[in-house]
Every structure is written in C-alpha cells, then in structure tokens.
C-alpha cells in the first residue's frame, strides 16, 4: 500500500493507526485526491465521489479500508 500511495516512507515506520496528517504521511486534502487518482490507475477502478465524501479518513487504516471496499466491490461485480 505504501508503494501504491507513493508515500516514500519506510514500511516499518507506518501502521494503520498513523494519522494521515502526521508529518510522516503529510497529506492534505489535495494530495489525497492526487493519490486516489493514482490508486484508480493502479487498480483500474473508479472511486465514486460519494465514497470519498462519506469516508471518515483519519489514519492510514481508514484510507486502506476505503480503497479495499472499492476494489472488492469491483471484484464482486466481475
């Protein structure tokens, strides 16, 4: 996931409870959108606006969970 998110940080220093706001991850609302577009390309999915709007994105775990939901939903459709 770190690779997908292109965070450029050491895997060992990141866990699911790391805040997206932490200096290590350092996301802001615009860079989050940028990363979601990269995720879409990587998994060949399209994330709905509603999913992003409804997601309570606070830490790395919540971001991973949202992406997993979308990827799984796509898998279920196929």
């Amino acid at each position: 996931m770190i690779g997908v998110l292109e965070l450029g940080v050491d895997r060992d220093r990141l866990d699911e409870t790391t805040s997206l706001y932490s200096p290590m991850v350092g996301l802001d609302s615009l860079s989050l959108l940028h990363i979601l577009v990269q995720v879409e390309k990587r998994f060949d999915i399209e994330i709905d606006d509603e999913d992003v709007m409804a997601a309570e994105l606070s830490d790395v775990g919540s971001l991973v969970a949202m992406i997993r939901r979308v990827v799984d939903a796509k898998g279920a459709d196929e």
């Binding site: 805040s19 997206l20 706001y21 200096p23 350092g26 996301l27 802001d28 609302s29 615009l30 860079s31 989050l32 959108l33 940028h34 979601l36 577009v37 879409e40 994330i47 709905d48 606006d49 509603e50 992003v52 709007m53 409804a54 309570e56 994105l57 606070s58």
Partner: protein, 450 residues
C-alpha cells in the same frame, strides 16, 4: 456597430479542452500544505474526485456532462462580434473581434465553471457550497449555480466590495445565497481580523480562509473556488471552443488572442483552444495576458512555489507570483487583484508560449469608455484591460500599416460597475504602481525558503 457571428443552439461545445494534453512538458508538482492544526482528525477532500480527475490527466477532450450542457444552453453559445465601429474610429487596418461573455445570467464568464462545479458537488452528496468572493462576480455565479441543484450557498464577500457594490449582494441573496460581510464574527479567522483592525476592508484571502473554516465545521458543506485551479481553467474552455467555430464563420484566424488576467481562468478560456488550433495549423498566433499595473504578477513577479491563499494554509504550487502576502491597491478591477497566476498559464508563460503586459487603470477606463461609446456595451473593469490591449494592437497595426486579426475576450459587462465609470468621468481615477521594494518584501520569504 458590431457584426455578429452566431452559432446554432446545438453548437454549444460537447467537450472541454484539456491543454495539458498538448503541453510538451510536465507541470511542477504541488508541495503539501504545512501542518497548521494538529487537532484535525479527518481529511475531507473539498473537491469531488470526479471533477479533479480530468484536471490532472492528459486526455485532450473531456465530455461535458449533459446536465451541465443543458444549463449552458440557457444562454450559450455566447456571441462573437467584429467591432467594426471601433475599427473605424481607430482608423486601423486591423480586424477586431471580441467574444462576449456578458450575456450569461451572472453577467460574466464565471458561471461556466460555477455550474460545472455545482453539478459535481451535488452529485458527490454536498448540500451546501461555501466560497469567498472579492468584487462579487464569482459569488454571483455560484449563487445562481447552486439553485438548480437544490444546494444552499454561502458567500463570504470582501467588506470593501460588499459596501461599494450593494447590488452584488442583492443579486446573490435574490438567488437564495446567504451573503456574509468579511471579516465576520462567524469564524475564528474573521474574529481575529476584526480584533486586529475593526475597520479592516477585508481581502479575498481572508474571505476564502473564512469560507474554508466555515465549510469544515458544517455537515455536508464544501468549500469551492473559481480562480486559477486546473479544473476551473478546463471548464472555461467552452469560451474558446465556441470562438474557434465563430472565427471560422468569419473566415479568419487571429494573429493575437487577448484576455484579462486575474488568476487566469478567463485568459485560459479564450486562449487554450486557439493554442491547440494554432499548433495544428502552424499559425504564429500570439497569446497576450493583460494585468493591472497595480498587481503585475506576470510582468514583475517571479516563478516560484507559493501558496494560493493569503494565510498560507493551502498547498504550494509553482506560479508567477508577487507573494501570497502581497496586497494590491484597491483598484476597481477587483477581479484582477489576485497575487498569483494559474499554474498552467504560469508554466506556459515561463516557456515563452504566452506573453503578458500591464496597464494603469486610468488608461483602462479611457479605453473601456471609448469601447462603450463605439460598440454600445459597457465592459467590466476587468474586461476593459483586454479592450485596452486590443486597441493598442490595432493602433500598432495602423502604424505598421499591417493587416492584423485581433480577438479578445470581453469577459463580462460593467453594468454593476457604473460607480467606477462615474469616478472615471469625474476625473477621480488614480494609478498606483507598487514599488520594487514592496514586491521584494512579499517575495523575499519565498526566495529565502528552501
């Protein structure tokens, strides 16, 4: 007077044009916003992903969603005219054409992106759009755009404009918006500004900062902006796409395309499609951005990483800038007082693909008034900057005895700016130019930072 080149109703563009597809270079990546508030727990993207996605991609044409196109059809295609009487009065061999965006419901080009944004925000589940507005063109456009989608609209309007142009507030309220004079007591940012200076005239930076704070605290509310972001420029290309067809009707291709330069959406809207067409046709067309002497971000600014807002909480982007703390003298063309140029326009200017010039406002009002007399349309003070440059190009053509085809964007009408023209007629218009020291003072922190 002017000669029209009209399109049919079904010729409203079906696609926006993404200039990124035709740029022979990558835009510099934005830099993350500073961590200013450790207490924030969740990250709420303010832009709908479906709107943001095409604005960073390289697909050349982006389909306009049908509901947006249906809204556009209420007044688009906008007219393109040849200013034959102005040509005669200037005794020029040049042909002067202008694309007129003043026929829109809000009276300017701003509604082209406001309607598109309202569509995407409503679809993403937003129930309220919140924004800051300076002179009021953007706030007016957004208030009109929210209504068809059943969304509430809240506008923080810069206090000096709120008081100078009361009809702007009326127009927004008429369309259901809540209009708040900024600085206000509704936000921490506003209260701090009022504490520092109870008579603060306000600024767009403060108004936007208030809007961001206000939106963050309200369920279903999202902050929206209509200046130099990629998606805003993209939506405005309907202007140039229509103008391309209309110039074909006229049987000419412009030697120079001119637009007033605030943050760049009007300029990009008229020029980008012609940039593509000129490349395809190997035409040596020039693209000229016109800014006020009072806010010369392109002609005297630097190409640096800078924040897009006054308070410095937004991500940094590379742009021609005077520094985000630069406060321009309060000229009548409030829409051109923004400190930076859109990242795409900046990058193209840096590579020599665009040109820029600047004028003082007394000359701008002289030319705006001359245009109004000749063509019967009063240009908004912002648009009068483009009129001025077009007239200068036409006079140069006369001196050089050269035939020249000039196209400019008349981005809005000035019927809610008549107090500014009154001031001009009374001889009260003043020209204020920032000193090198003033510009250096707001640029220095950016130059010194790593």
């Amino acid at each position: 007077m002017h000669q029209p080149f009209d399109l049919e109703a079904d010729q409203v563009p079906t696609h926006w044009y993404n200039v990124l597809a035709d740029l022979p270079f990558e835009l510099p990546a934005p830099r993350s916003a500073p961590r200013v508030n450790g207490e924030r727990k969740t990250l709420n993207p303010q832009l709908p992903l479906s709107m943001y996605r095409p604005s960073i991609g390289r697909d050349r044409f982006i389909e306009i969603p049908e509901p947006v196109r249906a809204e556009y059809r209420r007044w688009r295609p906008t007219p393109l005219y040849r200013a034959t009487r102005l040509e005669k009065e200037l005794d020029t061999p040049a042909h002067i054409y202008f694309k007129y965006e003043g026929t829109s419901p809000s009276g300017s080009h701003k509604i082209n992106t406001a309607l598109a944004q309202a569509y995407y925000y409503a679809r993403s589940g937003a129930r309220e759009m919140v924004t800051g507005t300076g002179a009021g063109q953007w706030g007016t456009a957004l208030s009109m755009a929210c209504h068809p989608y059943g969304m509430a609209c809240t506008v923080f309007m810069v206090r000096s404009s709120y008081r100078q142009k009361p009809y702007r507030g009326t127009l927004m309220r008429l369309n259901g918006a809540r209009v708040i004079e900024s600085p206000s007591t509704e936000t921490e940012v506003g209260r701090a500004a009022l504490h520092a200076d109870p008579d603060s005239p306000g600024s767009l930076g403060i108004a936007n900062a208030e809007a961001i704070e206000y939106a963050a605290a309200r369920e279903g509310a999202r902050f929206s902006i209509g200046s130099g972001e990629n998606h805003v420029l993209l939506h405005q290309t309907v202007i140039g796409e229509e103008a391309l067809l209309q110039m074909r009707l006229a049987g000419e291709f412009p030697d120079v395309v001119i637009g007033a330069m605030g943050a760049g959406s009007n300029f990009a809207g008229i020029t980008f499609p012609f940039y593509r067409a000129a490349r395809e046709e190997n035409a040596a067309t020039r693209f000229l951005a016109v800014e006020p002497d009072a806010c010369p971000k392109m002609t005297r600014g630097r190409y640096l990483m800078d924040h897009t807002d006054y308070s410095g909480v937004t991500p940094m982007v590379k742009m021609y800038t005077l520094g985000h703390t630069f406060t321009a003298y309060h000229i009548h063309a409030g829409g051109l007082r923004y400190h930076g140029a859109a990242p795409i326009v900046s990058a193209m200017y840096d590579k020599g693909l665009m040109e820029a010039t600047s004028y003082g406002q007394s000359r701008v009002f002289e030319c705006g008034a001359a245009f109004a007399r000749a063509e019967g349309l009063v240009p908004a003070p912002e648009s009068a900057h483009a009129v001025t440059a077009a007239m200068d190009e036409a006079l140069k053509a006369r001196e050089e005895r050269a035939e020249r085809v000039i196209l400019f964007s008349l981005s809005g009408h000035g019927l809610l700016d008549l107090s500014a023209y009154e001031s001009h007629l009374a001889g009260n218009t003043v020209d204020v130019v920032p000193t090198d020291e003033q510009i250096q003072a707001s640029l220095r922190p950016l130059i010194d930072s790593p």
